[in-house]
Symmetry: C2
Subunit: 291 residues, 2 copies
């Protein structure tokens, strides 16, 4: 029998789920990793894990796209994913039916943005744009302590960019060809060069293109959202030379038109690393009952 306040959190990724239970100070007291297979299988393990505890609320940061519109009939669903079995899965509905507790529901990158805002690279700033550049490209945003949603959630990895004049690569996005994700995701880099990004030399021209497109995209996000911090994570950013090149390209693309914080403050790597997702989901669980 639990007398303490406990929060439940799920970082629901396309490869694995992390489920955690934390105390009132958000210290994790139990955690499990579950493979993402099909909902019946993965979610029954999720159910078993949380059935051991009496949590007051859940926070979920999920792969997407997801429906975050409270007025929608499919609020709380994963919507259009190509991942088998997960399209139109009623994630919030199942958690609610099983446990009867409030569920905070957002995207994985929104969760990470909340975590980096609260206790990571954007601590003290009024807003945090979190980008991940990996298997896919995604962005989440937190402003004045709240995760950003409007009609839906951001899907900013798919914005259009101005093509580099020397670049003839057709892109790898099945929806948009050479949108940002189609040009700079890990699979796009591998498709372009023929070998995995981790094995490509830092002086290969592909990194000039990647820096050019990421710099330009961050310039566009800066013009639209005017964030105080931009945090870039994901596997592609493990290329240590890349961050400085991206910063340079942001400056080139904006050409002095808007006032930014000093560039080394403005654009940073994540501070929470692999813990950003589950930390964000826990913060969301807490916010859900305090709001």
């Amino acid at each position: 029998m639990e007398a303490r306040t406990l929060y439940g959190a799920i970082e629901a990724g396309g490869t694995k789920f992390i489920c955690a239970v934390a105390d009132a100070d958000l210290q994790i007291i139990d955690q499990v990793r579950i493979d993402t297979t099909v909902p019946a299988e993965t979610m029954s393990q999720v159910k078993d894990f949380f059935s051991q505890y009496e949590v007051v609320s859940f926070g979920v940061g999920s792969f997407g796209p997801i429906d975050v519109n409270h007025d929608s009939d499919t609020y709380g669903f994963i919507t259009k994913t190509p991942k088998q079995g997960w399209a139109n899965y009623d994630f919030v509905g199942d958690l609610t039916r099983w446990f009867g507790k409030p569920v905070g529901w957002t995207t994985d990158v929104n969760g990470a943005s909340l975590a980096e805002y609260t206790s990571g690279a954007a601590e003290g700033a009024n807003s945090c744009l979190y980008l991940t550049v990996g298997t896919g490209v995604g962005g989440g945003f937190t402003i004045n302590g709240d995760i950003y949603h409007a009609f839906g959630h951001p899907e900013m990895g798919h914005i259009h960019v101005h093509k580099h004049p020397n670049d003839t690569f057709e892109g790898a996005c099945p929806f948009h060809g050479d949108c940002l994700e189609g040009l700079v995701s890990g699979p796009a880099i591998e498709k372009r060069v023929g070998i995995k990004g981790a094995d490509i030399s830092p002086d290969h021209e592909v990194w000039d293109y990647v820096a050019y497109y990421l710099g330009q995209a961050i310039a566009s996000y800066s013009l639209v959202l005017a964030p105080e911090r931009v945090v870039i994570g994901g596997g592609v950013m493990h290329q240590e030379h890349l961050l400085d090149r991206v910063k340079e390209q942001v400056i080139v693309a904006l050409n002095g038109y808007v006032t930014l914080p000093p560039i080394d403050q403005y654009i940073q790597l994540p501070k929470l690393g692999d813990n950003a997702g589950i930390t964000g989901a826990l913060l969301l669980a807490k916010d859900t009952v305090e709001a």
Copy 2:
């Protein structure tokens, strides 16, 4: 002697200022138009006009860029405008010194977005992106009743776009060449074709380019902000054939990736027309004392 609650509003444009005084129901009881020359001249007329009334607060929607960051030493200033005399002008500071009343301060397009959100084409939606496509291209955003600011205000007319494969025009933006504004503003269209937009036939290819770039830009804004409504005004949109072509290009650019409201609801012309700016400034004046 006034016993009624009165609000003061200024729509500060690069060509003219509209100043208005309205009652508690935001019915305008007096209004004046002042040419935008230099601050000493224009602002002394502003001062004279409002000195006739005892307003409880002001709302200002100004041309920009402006400083909206309360933590900044130059909060309330117009910042980098090329307009002679107005760069680094302390707009909010002068109003405060003269009248000693609270001042709500934002961009002209943010003011228009608030007006269209409250009583225009976006009424009933949770968010309104307002775009103007005219002498310049600008965007303002209102969400859940609040004008959107973060570190700064949006300057989204200058985002980068994917160039149309047949388009060789170098663009007209002094900062970014062929950014969105550099490709679709009134002066850009005139520079490209050699005659004013109003005199160009609807079947001229320039409109294909303008629709392509605006559609793409709205797609990118949709991916970043996920607004519930997009309202497009400005002189270029007086081309009656253009709205439907822009809608088509938004659909092409997104290619079904995100769920939008029905397109004819999603993208609309302004309902308030020329009154959006001053209406927004009045709403802002009211919000400033009610917040």
